[in-house]
């Protein structure tokens, strides 16, 4: 088959003629290898969309809305689509395919919200574009290389653009630089290589959208009520008459702001919190986490891998781990079973079947006497109390039966990312949705204290050396339960930590490694200070 035909089909399922589609089907029918290749590409596209697409909807929320509509006898799906398409057409935008808006299945309330949001977004945008050529906002005063401006459908060099206007998108390639000065005041902005910047409407004051890269600005005093704002994917930076430096790392994950003079107000989009950053100070914002005080990521210390062991085949993928003095406990992700493993070579010392009590295990913690299992509330527990939520259970390691139950009811326990359990200071520490951590008395089962932290939904926690550690996406944080602050202390080497983590003291932790989760790593944590 010609690659061109395959390329067209993979990119757009609707672009082939009926004859071409027939030819493709005939080929796939006679060539299983090719059919698998095509199927893999289709699945791969879905994975790319899942990880990259900006307007990807929240499927569980959409399903819940559909169910509410179903139960209320409301059918809003078709009308919502038509409405959305109208709005899209009115804005002059062309979706990737005619069905692009079909994904948006909102209920009646969502329609109302949609009107507000869509108008809120589109009206300024249409106004913005209509006023694109109403006047020059700034002019380049220094540049290396050939930075370009995307203006409407055209891509023009900054040098011949005649000046920068609202609606322009500026691209500075690697190795190039661009500085520009506003025409009506002494505000200077410098962009480094690899930066992408959009100039939106200036109706509410001077505003720049820094998509990625690094921007330095020296900002003159602004009129009252019209502050100078730099908008980034992670945070909104409002300058309060100052000179400042900000960096945005690409991939929408991390942003670092450095202030050299004056005062800057930082709004973290992840958690809606506001922080004032003064001269000589810096702040880092991480997507979904909020503020974290941290040195630059490229200079972050790395955890050191001291040892790794392969778990036996019969354990399968590891869902959770805990330490019992000289042995590791691993919960299988494939069946409700615990395995006591030798720390040297991971051979199985003992296997405990938990199928009588649990369907699957989310996290483990050893309290010095008992192994605690965190799991979705089993049917037996729910049958007694009519609960839905989670259960913590101290299990008898001979029979696999629970000897003590701590139940927590509520939807929140089953939503919002990873649940994680650890033990320290005579308490069980349960990390749940929204970054909330509960300290639970294992004897009474009561919550002694709750802490609201800035932990991301995907993070896990481990208590050790009197410190509460957390990691997410390879970043290691120290958690300050008292105020919920996070300090970024370093990173794990790539693939060395995925999911659960357990501290063993003296700055050491065990982690579950990589995709197949069948290797465990002993890591030396970086020093945070």
């Amino acid at each position: 088959m010609k690659d061109a035909l395959l390329a067209r089909f993979v990119d757009d399922r609707t672009c082939l003629s009926e004859k071409e589609l027939g030819e493709l089907i005939d080929e796939l029918r006679s060539d299983e290898k090719l059919a698998r290749e095509v199927r893999d590409y289709l699945v791969f596209d879905e994975m790319l969309s899942e990880n990259l697409r900006e307007d990807r909807g929240d499927l569980p929320a959409q399903v819940r809305q559909r169910i509410r509509d179903l139960e209320n006898g409301t059918k809003s799906r078709e009308s919502t689509r038509k409405f959305a398409i109208k709005v899209k057409r009115a804005a002059g935008e062309t979706p990737a395919a005619s069905g692009v808006w079909r994904r948006a299945v909102w209920g009646l309330l969502a329609i109302a919200a949609g009107i507000i949001v869509v108008l809120g977004v589109l009206i300024p945008r249409m106004k913005d574009e209509s006023s694109d050529h109403s006047g020059i906002l700034a002019r380049a005063n220094d540049m290396e290389g050939n930075a370009t401006v995307v203006r409407g459908d055209k891509n023009v060099p900054v040098s011949t653009s005649g000046g920068l206007m609202p609606g322009d998108s500026i691209r500075v390639k690697e190795g190039e630089t661009l500085s520009f000065i506003y025409v009506d005041e002494e505000t200077k902005v410098s962009l480094e290589g690899g930066t992408r910047l959009r100039i939106p409407s200036q109706d509410r004051g001077k505003r720049l959208n820094l998509e990625s890269g690094r921007l330095t600005a020296s900002v003159a005093k602004q009129p009252a009520g019209k502050p100078f704002v730099v908008d980034t994917p992670q945070a909104e930076i409002t300058v309060v008459g100052t000179r400042f430096t900000t960096s945005v790392f690409s991939w929408k994950v991390l942003m670092r702001l450095e202030v050299t003079e004056g005062l800057v107000r930082l709004l973290s989009k992840g958690d809606g919190k506001v922080l004032d950053v003064g001269a000589g100070e810096y702040a880092t914002v991480m997507n979904g986490v909020g503020f974290i005080g941290a040195p630059p990521t490229d200079k972050l210390p790395r955890a050191e891998m001291l040892r790794e062991i392969q778990v036996p085949e019969n354990v399968g993928k590891v869902a959770a781990i805990a330490i019992e003095e000289t042995a590791l406990w691993a919960a299988s992700a494939e069946k409700p079973a615990l395995f006591q493993l030798d720390m040297e070579d991971a051979h199985v010392l003992k296997e405990v079947d938990l199928s009588a009590e649990f369907g699957r295990i989310l996290s483990l913690a050893w309290d010095g006497t008992h192994l605690w299992v965190l799991a979705p509330a089993p049917s037996t527990a729910r049958g007694k109390g009519g609960r839905h939520g989670i259960s913590l259970a101290a299990v008898d390691l001979t029979s696999g039966k629970a000897v003590r139950w701590v139940d927590r009811s509520g939807w929140d326990y089953l939503r919002g990312g990873k649940l994680s359990l650890t033990f320290g200071e005579e308490r069980l520490w349960l990390k749940r949705s929204g970054g909330m951590i509960e300290e639970i008395d294992p004897a009474g089962g009561n919550t002694v204290r709750s802490h609201s932290t800035r932990l991301n939904g995907g993070s896990v926690i481990a208590h050790g050396d009197g410190v509460l550690w957390s990691h997410v996406w390879g970043w290691i944080f120290r958690v300050e339960p008292a105020d919920g602050d996070l300090t970024l202390v370093g990173t794990f080497p790539p693939y060395s930590a995925s999911g659960d983590m357990v501290a063993v003291g003296k700055g050491l932790v065990w982690t579950i490694k990589g995709k197949n989760r069948q290797r465990l790593c002993l890591m030396k944590m970086p020093k945070g200070d």
Binding site: R13, I25, Y41, S49, K513
Partner: protein
């Protein structure tokens, strides 16, 4: 007999846990990316109507894939454009052995994607951004980058292949240690 609350809790749990493999399965049947979410919603609504019950010895993903198969075929049959052809295509793709793709939600996958994305040239990165991040069609991308629609599709296909190979390599490297 489980209580209504039990069923709801179990449904929520299954919805959160299975949405990625179910989406991938539906995409792998040849459903257009813009229809994948719609069909996936239909799958979970159908499952909800069954009160979230599962036959014994069947995993949620297996059961949901069964529902998804029927709904995908129904989706194609309803299609005004070459419905019969797409139904035939879906039947071929559905009979293939399970794909070994890793989960898109896996941390290692995300790390590998990040790494491989950073290795692309500026031009290829821009194309991927326009196609997957902004969800723009090849025609619009071609206009933006001053190329032809077909050339954009061919380049995107090569970039997909490079990214896919790189991610597979990186994930395997991570898994092997």
């Amino acid at each position: 007999m489980p209580s209504e609350q039990d069923s709801d809790a179990r449904f929520e749990e299954i919805l959160e846990d299975t949405q990625l493999p179910v989406r991938a399965y539906i995409a792998g049947m040849g459903v257009s990316p813009d229809d994948v979410d719609d069909v996936t919603q239909d799958v979970y609504v159908a499952f909800y109507k069954q009160k979230g019950t599962l036959p014994p010895d069947t995993t949620p993903v297996q059961w949901l894939k069964g529902i998804a198969k029927n709904l995908c075929l129904e989706h194609f049959r309803r299609s005004k454009r070459y419905g019969e052809r797409f139904t035939a295509l879906a039947e071929i793709l559905e009979q293939l052995p399970d794909s070994q793709e890793v989960s898109a939600g896996d941390d290692s996958y995300r790390d590998a994607l990040l790494h491989c994305f950073s290795k692309l040239s500026d031009r290829h990165r821009e194309l991927v951004n326009l196609r997957f991040r902004k969800n723009l069609p090849a025609k619009t991308i071609a206009e933006r980058v001053k190329s032809t629609e077909q050339a954009v599709r061919v380049i995107l296909f090569r970039v997909r292949k490079a990214l896919k190979d790189c991610i597979t390599r990186e994930v395997a490297k991570g898994a092997a240690g």
